[in-house]
Amino acid sequence: MAAIEVRGLVKHYGAVRAVDGIDLTIEAGEVFALLGPNGAGKTTTVEILEGHRDRDAGEVTVLGFDPAEGDRDLRERIGIVLQSTSVIPELSVREILDLFGGMYPRPRQTDEVIEIVGLTDKADARIKTLSGGQVRRIDLALGIVGDPDLIFLDEPTTGFDPSARRNSWSLIHNLRFLGKTILLTTHYMDEAQNLADRVAVIAGGVIVAEGTPDTLGGRATGSVRVSFLRPADVSGIPGVFAVDPGRDGLVAVEIDNPTVALHDLTEWALGRGIELERLAVTRPSLEDVYLSITRDTGNG
């Protein structure tokens, strides 16, 4: 059974169709990333799945439950890492994890959770004395303290420095290793690339692309960019590469048949004894694909 099943989900705010007919299936054990510009409907969708928001139309099943029913049996099995929400500032790290852990039937040990998120030396500090990044790690800790089967991570590393982000990524990898299902929203493409088994892009309240991070938007099959420093003598260079270089002196060409074109290019260069400096063959990054998808839908 799929962990999350969504059919025809719609949510309006007045005249604004924040979510306008979304279908989504997330399998158990999968790490699924929802990408999209601000205001695209990501958070609304996730909050409907979490049971925080009602929907106007559509069918939603989360672990076999309808989240709109607010069933405690469901809430015992999900963990929610909220976006931009404060934690109770008067409590200590240990106290808040004890408080929330106590609500679940089989919570993780408080000390273990504190260690996982790297707050052991702050365990007894009042939350109001912690830095923003440390508070964000408490968010993460609260999401896993109940040892849930399904975890919602709404922009889990926004505002993190690179090393804190790496730590969170390895935590999320570990959760996947334990068989947890994870639904992640992010606007960091490297995060999606690193963590997700599958990604979907939301724009204007609908899903405009879906796939693995490597194949999204025809990334694996589309054109390839070949670039190199233009040699002094380019007489006889294959026609496709006979273009003016950019200001950095690089010739950059998008081509659909890289095998043949590269063969022609290197054969030409070898024949003249030319070293093609800074030769690179790259596929568009996930970010390039994402930007072109969201630009096409007029919602960048």
């Binding site: 925080h52 909220l82 931009s84 929400t85 008067e90 409590l91 609500m103 009042r126 923003g132 505002g159």
Partner: protein
């Protein structure tokens, strides 16, 4: 480990958490506990602490009247203002949303909230009466203790219910203390907390009679009244308090929101969160 995730156990943990948050917020503790106590000291300075002698009665002090009135006032503020303000802030900050996303039953949250503030109200009232007893000759006849306790519980419960209504209706956490004070303090004047006016204007009397604070104050004072000898049972006042408490709970039930208000300016401070550690 007793009843780890049963309703009783969860309510108990919620109560302990709410109390901890309260005592660790010095400004709230100050206004709830010491502010009413200052009135007691002030009144004692104004009215003096000489004993009044009436033939056929044991001598008594004026504090015998205003200490219980101020104790009721403190209990009302410990429940109404505290619950209203803390609930509105917790909603704005997304703390209520966090509870709602966890497997915490709504009744456990409500019981924890109400019982912790009734406990705080008890501390505030008991402190008031203790200071009254130690320094101003305030006393309570043992046979009137049951009536005093019933009045206290109904009064505190009533203002707890109204506090939940205030928390549900207050548009923002920032604005909630102003709303709480602007409703509670004028009502206290109309409710004979500070001065028992001999012949009040009709409108003032009507306001006092309609709202529950005067019933709380009068019923509680009655248990300490040195001029009467009955058990101080006040079924009518008790009924008025119970009615208002239920009304407040109904309003809260209808309008309570777990999500931060969409348009509210009082979003959680994002800046704190964005600082890298």
């Amino acid at each position: 480990m007793v009843d780890r995730s049963g309703l009783l156990g969860l309510s108990w943990r919620q109560m302990r958490y709410e109390s901890k948050s309260f005592w660790r917020t010095p400004i709230a503790a100050f206004f709830t506990i010491f502010f009413p106590l200052m009135f007691l000291l002030l009144f004692a300075a104004l009215f003096g602490d000489e004993l009044i002698e009436i033939p056929g009665r044991s001598p008594f002090s004026v504090a015998q009247f205003y200490a219980p009135a101020l104790a009721a006032f403190a209990a009302g503020s410990a429940t109404y203002t505290n619950i209203g303000v803390s609930t509105a802030f917790a909603r704005d900050q997304g703390i209520l949303k966090r509870f709602r996303g966890a497997p915490l039953p709504v009744p456990a949250y409500m019981i924890g909230k109400i019982s912790s503030s009734v406990w705080i109200a008890f501390v505030a009232s008991a402190l008031m009466l203790t200071v009254g007893a130690l320094f101003y000759d305030v006393s309570l006849a043992p046979e009137r203790l049951p009536a005093a306790l019933i009045t206290f519980l109904l009064g505190a419960g009533c203002f707890a219910g109204l506090g939940l209504a205030l928390g549900a209706l207050a548009p923002t956490g920032e604005g909630s203390p102003a709303i709480a004070n602007a409703t509670y303090l004028p009502l206290a004047f109309a409710s004979e907390v500070f001065i028992a006016v001999g012949d009040p204007p009709t409108w003032l009397k009507v306001i006092g009679d309609v709202f529950p604070l005067k019933h709380f104050v009068n019923a509680f004072q009655d248990a300490f009244n040195p001029l009467t000898d009955d058990l101080a049972l006040r079924p009518f006042d008790w009924a008025v308090m119970a009615g208002w408490g239920l009304f407040g709970a109904l309003i809260a039930w209808r309008f309570f929101a777990w999500q931060p208000r969409e348009t509210g300016a009082a979003k959680p401070r994002r800046g704190r969160r964005q600082a890298a550690d």
